[in-house]
Subunit: 230 residues, 2 copies
């Protein structure tokens, strides 16, 4: 996720030889903010330069001046969403928060991102990843890279927990990430459809339960019972 | 899920006054099978009567004879996918398999459904639900109803487990379903993109871990450790 800015410079910004004017940069950002929001409702594939121009009240030719192709628009939209996610979720958890506390804080930051409705269609990456799953290409590669970067946030935090003795030395960090992250995905889609805060609580309890299991404790919601056989 | 056939009769079949001929029924089924498969790649919104006609080599007017509107085509496609899912997943687990064994068997039936690549874009419902999340309407309602029916399969099995004493009496069945089903969702999307069987194993282990926690045992992959504090 840290490389997002560089990726933008490399792939999405106008060539260095033709320095964009400040108002050009600003309207580019306006377009991309609108595109990222719209993509969570219509899908990245549903973004057309014509529709987008109409949506933000800009001429189609004005939009073409910023993006030469549909693919360029899609990639720049993904990078914009990544920057928003970085600011609104990841940077909300300072590096001093480590280990299991970091896992809980990242989960909460994600759920608050949904509550604040930064994107009308919930988490940009959950929605767009589901839409692009069967469409190999540069857009899907970029989304997969960013999803891996999100998972890596949890891998780092769980490794910190393991090193600090919060988790047993044998804890399978990849398996834990596989169990933790889908609950946020699930909460996202249930939240979009139902707007029922209980789904956010289910995700909180779910993550807590995964961590309780990993630390050797059972979850808080079930009555503890001794295992019959080892 | 049991009402699927009735729903089809009510909403999608031609009016009773004009009884369809056998070959009409057959071509309707050919269209809908193709539509369900295509929807997992292009999305339900990406199904156009024109594209679909071209895809299956039928005239556009021939297709219009079967479906008067895009919405009718979408709803009939969902019902067809539901029938396929019922046959290929749910009926693979006989009613005699109950409780925790039923949870494991349903999970395995779902994963085998992915392995058999019944739909090119993985689980029809996972893909289409993600696409429709921000689009209220009859198609989304139908998908939500079918997803609830799938979750209900797990609710029933977990209640059986609770009644049989496999789970503590205080076990929160809804929370368990919230923790179990997203892992299949996650495995679905990872499987489409990576075709790596390890993601199927991660889902199997994940479901086992949720159940182990609920029964009061810790998971099989982590070294058991006594909780330091209650």
């Amino acid at each position: 996720m840290k490389s997002t800015k560089n990726q933008m410079d490399q792939n999405s910004a106008p060539p260095a030889s033709r320095k964009p004017r400040a108002d050009g940069i600003e309207s580019r950002r306006t377009i991309l903010d609108a595109a990222a929001r719209l993509a969570t409702v219509r899908g990245l594939g549903g973004l057309s330069i014509g529709d987008l121009a109409q949506h933000i009240g800009m001429s189609k030719s004005g939009l073409y001046a910023h993006f030469k192709s549909k693919e360029e628009l899609e990639l720049a939209t993904i990078d914009t969403a990544a920057e928003i996610f970085e600011t609104d979720v990841i940077r909300k958890v300072p590096p001093s928060v480590r280990g299991l506390a970091r896992v809980a804080a990242l989960t909460e930051a994600f759920l608050q991102h949904l509550v604040r409705r930064i994107f009308p269609g919930g988490c940009f990456f959950a929605t767009v990843a589901a839409q692009l799953a069967s469409h190999p290409g540069r857009a899907r590669d970029r989304i997969m890279h960013l999803q891996a970067a999100w998972a890596a946030q949890f891998i780092v935090a769980l490794r910190q927990a393991r090193e600090a003795g919060e988790l047993p030395r044998g804890a399978d960090v990849n398996q834990l990430v596989f169990e933790i992250t889908p609950m946020m995905f699930r909460a996202n889609f249930a939240w979009i459809v139902t707007e029922d805060e209980r789904v956010l609580d289910q995700a909180r309890v779910g993550v807590k339960n995964v961590l309780a299991r990993a630390t050797g404790e059972t979850g808080t919601r079930e009555k503890r019972r001794r295992p019959g056989k080892p």
